[in-house]
């Protein structure tokens, strides 16, 4: 039996399996299942839960690692004031 026939078992399995059986087999393999929800990073989820508008998240790459910071929306930016030019 060569590798193509071996992977053929996978094709045979997927052609015949129902979604419910697939979930059962996956659970037996240790996969955890939960309600369907889109993937969002935790900070954004927390803000949505609080009813806040999510900030735009961006990243700067430094030595192969991302350093995340949130960019402010225009209305969130503070207007700078100075004694010479008070607003």
């Amino acid at each position: 039996m060569d590798k193509h026939v071996k992977w053929g078992l996978m094709k045979e399995y997927f052609d015949n399996v129902t979604v419910e059986q697939l979930i059962e087999d996956s659970k037996r393999a240790g996969m955890i299942f939960g309600p369907s929800e889109p993937y969002l990073p935790k900070p954004i989820k927390a803000r949505i839960r609080q009813g806040l508008r999510p900030k735009r998240i961006t990243a700067i790459w430094f030595e192969g690692k991302p350093l995340y910071y949130a960019k402010k929306h225009p209305w969130e930016k503070q207007k700078h004031t100075s004694p010479q030019n008070p607003t």
Binding site: K3, V17, V19, R28, A29, G30, W61, E63, G64
Partner: protein
Amino acid sequence: MEVFYHGTVRSFADEIVRTQRLGYSGGEQHFLGNGVYLYKEQLQARVWAEMKAKSRMSEPVVLRVGVCVPGLEYLDLDLRANQDEFFYWRQQYLKKLGLPGAQHPYYTDSHFCDFISEVLSVNMLAKTFVYVHKKEQQLPVLHTNQKQTNRNITRHFRTEKQYCLKEDSWIKDISEWQVSDYG
């Protein structure tokens, strides 16, 4: 019979040699799923043993493990053909579970490897992974948006080929490997 090596610490090694049984490792951090993790290379097993021994304040020990591996049931995920199949069936798996009404899986590579081992009746998986030492922190660097970069950075990184044995009944012999046996 093929020879593999397993790195561990003194207290576990004595028990393993006495009972001739190796414990299973599992969890998300074991990317080939639940099973006995082995190396073909003695030095890699030694590095692993030393790392474990340091954290446990114990003596590192490398075990020589004789395994009978029928060729048909050994899946090498370093081969391009097998990788193509793996990623294709992973896509099909997630696609099928993405159908309306289906529950959403918390996908992990380790559990998916257990899943395909079950479906394909494969008892041993092997793959090469990036090995990142905690202190060295050598991660592959592909991009940087710094204007002035350190030109001494390397795109090479350490790797280790892991073998995950799903069925420990294939293990025929376990003995302690002495440093003098090296070479």
